[in-house]
C-alpha cells in the first residue's frame, strides 16, 4: 500500500506545519500551565515532601498541613510501641508575626519547629546536618533564601518573632511555603514562640520513620486508630501531601482554572489544527474524488485523513515535549516553582493527541465534497 498520508505530509510539509505547530504549542501551554499550578501548590506540601518521614500523625481530618491542630502528647509513646516504627519525631506548627531589623511592618509567617539533631526527619532534604545543628542555639532560625527580601534580613541579623528575639543562622532553598513565609526553628525555640496556649509543648504532628518504608501503607492503616472518635490519625507522607495539594487546588479555585484554561487551549488548538487539515483535504479533493471513482471507499479515504491527523499529533507531541522541556528548564533556572506528575504528563499528552484526532474527524467531513460526479463538470 502506498503511504499516501505520510508521503503527502512530507512533500507538502509547509501546508501541514501550522497544524503541527498548533498542536505543539497547545501541548506546551497545557503542560506548562499544569506545571506552574502544580509547582505553586506543591509548595503547600513542601513540609511533607522535603521531609524524610514515611508516615505522619496529626489531627483527624486535617485537609492541609497548614491547618494542623495540636494532638495529645501520649500519641508519641503509642507510635513508638509499634515494632515497625524506627523513629518518631515531633513537628511543631505555629503561626507567627515577624518584625525584621528593617522596618517592613509585621509579616505574617509560619513557624516550623523541628528536631535539630542530625538524624532529624523534618526538612531532611533541604537542611543539611551542619546547618541543622545551628538550630540548637536558642532563638536560631533558618529561612528560604528567596524570602530574605520579604523579611528584610540577612544571615546573622536579629529580628523579633512573636515578641521573642531570634537570629537568622542560615538559609536553605526549598523552604518556600504557600501564602506565607516559612521560618524553621528548633522544637525548643518553637515552644517559646507558641504563646497564649495552655500547653506550648503540644505539637500538631508526629513524623514517623519506618524500619521498612515499603510497608508504609499497611503500617499507616495499623497505626491509625480507625474509630470515629479518634483523637489523632496516621497517613502516609504521599497521601498527606497529595491531600494538601488537592485542598489548595480546589480551595483556591485554581483547579477549576486549570480545567477551564485547558478547555480553552484545547479549543484553540483544535480550531487551528482542523482548519489546516480541512484546507489540506480541500486542496486535494479532486484527487480524493478520483480515487473514490476508481473504487477507494469513503472509509478508506477517511483513514488517509486520520492518518495525517495522527502524524500531526505525534509530531506535535514531540515538538511540544521539547518546547515544554525548554520552558520548564528556564523556569527552574529562574526559581519559578514548577512540578509535574507522570499522570499530569500523560493527561496532557492524551489531550494533545485528542486535539489532533478531533481535528482529523472534522477534516474527514470535508471529504464529503470528494464526490466523483463533480469531476465531470
Amino acid at each position: 500500500m502506498i503511504a499516501l498520508a505520510r508521503k503527502t505530509l512530507i512533500y507538502e510539509w509547509r501546508r501541514f506545519l501550522p497544524a503541527t505547530l498548533a498542536v505543539a504549542f497547545s501541548g506546551m501551554l497545557l503542560l506548562v500551565q499544569l506545571a506552574l499550578v502544580l509547582g505553586i501548590f506543591e509548595s503547600a506540601s513542601t513540609y511533607i515532601t522535603r521531609s524524610s518521614a514515611d508516615l505522619w500523625a496529626g489531627y483527624p481530618g486535617t485537609q492541609s498541613i497548614d491547618l494542623g491542630r495540636p494532638i495529645s502528647r501520649d500519641v508519641e509513646m503509642r507510635l513508638l510501641m509499634d515494632p515497625a516504627v524506627a523513629r518518631v519525631e515531633p513537628f511543631q506548627w505555629v503561626d507567627g508575626d515577624w518584625h525584621g531589623p528593617v522596618d517592613l511592618g509585621s509579616v505574617s509567617v509560619f513557624i516550623s519547629g523541628i528536631d535539630p539533631s542530625p538524624r532529624g526527619l523534618a526538612f531532611a532534604d533541604v537542611i543539611p546536618p551542619a546547618l541543622r545543628l545551628l538550630l540548637q542555639e536558642p532563638g536560631a532560625v533558618i529561612v528560604d533564601r528567596a524570602d530574605l527580601p520579604k523579611l528584610g534580613i540577612g544571615v546573622g541579623d536579629r529580628a523579633i518573632l512573636n515578641g521573642v528575639r531570634v537570629r537568622l543562622v542560615g538559609t536553605a532553598t526549598g523552604l518556600r511555603a504557600l501564602g506565607g513565609v516559612n521560618i524553621v526553628t528548633s522544637l525548643a525555640t518553637a515552644r517559646r514562640l507558641n504563646q497564649g496556649v495552655d500547653d506550648p509543648g503540644q505539637v500538631a504532628y508526629y513524623l514517623i520513620k519506618l524500619k521498612q518504608p515499603a510497608a508504609a501503607a499497611a503500617v499507616a492503616r495499623r497505626l491509625d486508630p480507625q474509630s470515629a472518635h479518634r483523637r489523632y490519625a496516621v497517613w502516609t507522607a504521599q497521601d498527606f501531601s497529595a491531600r494538601t495539594v488537592r485542598y489548595w487546588l480546589f480551595e483556591t479555585g485554581a483547579g477549576l482554572g486549570v480545567v477551564f484554561m485547558s478547555a480553552v487551549v484545547f479549543l484553540v488548538g483544535a480550531v487551528i489544527t482542523s482548519q489546516t487539515l480541512m484546507g489540506a483535504v480541500a486542496g486535494s479533493v479532486t484527487e480524493y474524488a478520483t480515487l473514490n471513482a476508481l473504487g477507494a471507499s469513503y472509509a478508506a479515504l477517511s483513514r488517509v485523513v486520520m492518518e495525517q491527523a495522527t502524524w500531526i499529533g505525534t509530531l506535535g507531541l514531540l515538538l511540544g515535549g521539547v518546547l515544554s522541556a525548554l520552558v520548564l528548564a528556564v523556569a527552574v533556572g529562574q526559581d519559578v516553582p514548577v512540578a509535574l506528575s507522570p499522570l499530569g504528563v500523560l493527561v496532557c499528552a492524551g489531550l494533545v493527541m485528542a486535539i489532533a484526532l478531533v481535528s482529523g474527524l472534522m477534516a474527514v467531513r470535508t471529504l464529503r465534497r470528494a464526490d466523483p460526479a463533480r469531476l465531470l463538470r
Binding site: 499516501l4 512533500y11 484527487e287 478520483t290 473504487g295 471507499s297 465531470l376
Partner: protein, 244 residues
C-alpha cells in the same frame, strides 16, 4: 482478442437538474449500447449532456429514470457498497483534470488504487510498471506531477486507471486540457486499450479532432443521439501497432 459483445446497455435513462427554480431536462429517455473492444466517442457541443450520460453509465450519478446494465449487472440496483465494489473491480476513469497527488511519483500514483484492490506491493509494482510502459512513460516513472508535462500527466492518469485492468474505461474530455499533439497521443492510447485489452472504452468530448480516432462515433445534441457511425478507418490495425 475477445469478440465484440455488448458491455453496457442503457435503457431510457432520464436526468434533470434543478438549479434554483429552473429545471433542466438534460437526458430524456436516452437508450444506448456500448460494445467491448472498441473506442466509442460521444461527440457534441458543451452542455449537451455528454458528461451526465457518462456519469450515469459509470455509476457516478443516479438517473431519475431508466436502467443501466453493465457487464450483466444492473448498476443502479446495487447498494452503495456494492456500487463502490463494482467500480473498484471493473471501472477505470480518466478526467479532464489529471487529479494526480502532488506528493507521489508516477509509479506510486499508479500503484495507489491497486492497494485498494488488495494487491501486494510487489504485484502492484509489477502491474504499475507494465501500465506505465504501455503509456510509454516507463522512463519517467520516478517523477512527480510537478516534473511532468500535461500530456505526460494525463498518460499517468490513464496508466493509473489501466493498471486496475478494468473492463470498462471512461474518459471525460481527456484531451481538453492538452495541446493537439498530446491530445492525439492520449486518444491513440485509449484506442489501443480498447483493441489490445478488449476493454469497452467510452470517451466523451466536444473536441471534433478526436472523431477520426474512434471506432464508433455518436453525435449528441440537446440530450439526444443524432447519429451513430462506425469508423472503419479509425486507427491502424492492431497487428501493426502493438507488436512487442
Amino acid at each position: 482478442m475477445s469478440a465484440m459483445t455488448t458491455a453496457i446497455r442503457a435503457d431510457r435513462v432520464a436526468k434533470a437538474f434543478l438549479s434554483g427554480k429552473v429545471r433542466t431536462q438534460v437526458l430524456d429517455g436516452l437508450s444506448i449500447e456500448l460494445m467491448s473492444a472498441e473506442l466509442t466517442l460521444i461527440s457534441g457541443p458543451s452542455g449537451c449532456g455528454k458528461s451526465t450520460l457518462l456519469a450515469i453509465l459509470s455509476g457516478l450519478e443516479r438517473p431519475d429514470a431508466g436502467r443501466v446494465e453493465a457487464l450483466g449487472e444492473r448498476v443502479w440496483e446495487l447498494d452503495r457498497a456494492g456500487l463502490q465494489r463494482f467500480r473498484l473491480q471493473h471501472l477505470g476513469f480518466v478526467f479532464q483534470g489529471f487529479n494526480l497527488f502532488p506528493a507521489l511519483t508516477a509509479l506510486e500514483q499508479v500503484m495507489l488504487p491497486l492497494g485498494y484492490l488488495g494487491l501486494g506491493h510487489a504485484a502492484a509494482r509489477q502491474r504499475a510498471e507494465a501500465a506505465l510502459d504501455e503509456v510509454d512513460l516507463a522512463h519517467r516513472r520516478h517523477l512527480r506531477p510537478a516534473e511532468l508535462s500535461g500530456g505526460e500527466k494525463q498518460r499517468v492518469a490513464i496508466a493509473r486507471a489501466l493498471a486496475k485492468q478494468p473492463q470498462l474505461f471512461f474518459a471525460d474530455e481527456p484531451t481538453s486540457a492538452l495541446d493537439a499533439r498530446s491530445g492525439q497521443t492520449v486518444i491513440d492510447i485509449l484506442h489501443r486499450i480498447a483493441r489490445s485489452h478488449g476493454a469497452t472504452v467510452l470517451c466523451v468530448s466536444h473536441d471534433p479532432r478526436l472523431v477520426t480516432h474512434a471506432d464508433r462515433v455518436l453525435r449528441m445534441e440537446d440530450g439526444r443521439i443524432l447519429s451513430d457511425q462506425r469508423n472503419p478507418a479509425a486507427g491502424p490495425p492492431l497487428a501493426e501497432e502493438s507488436s512487442p
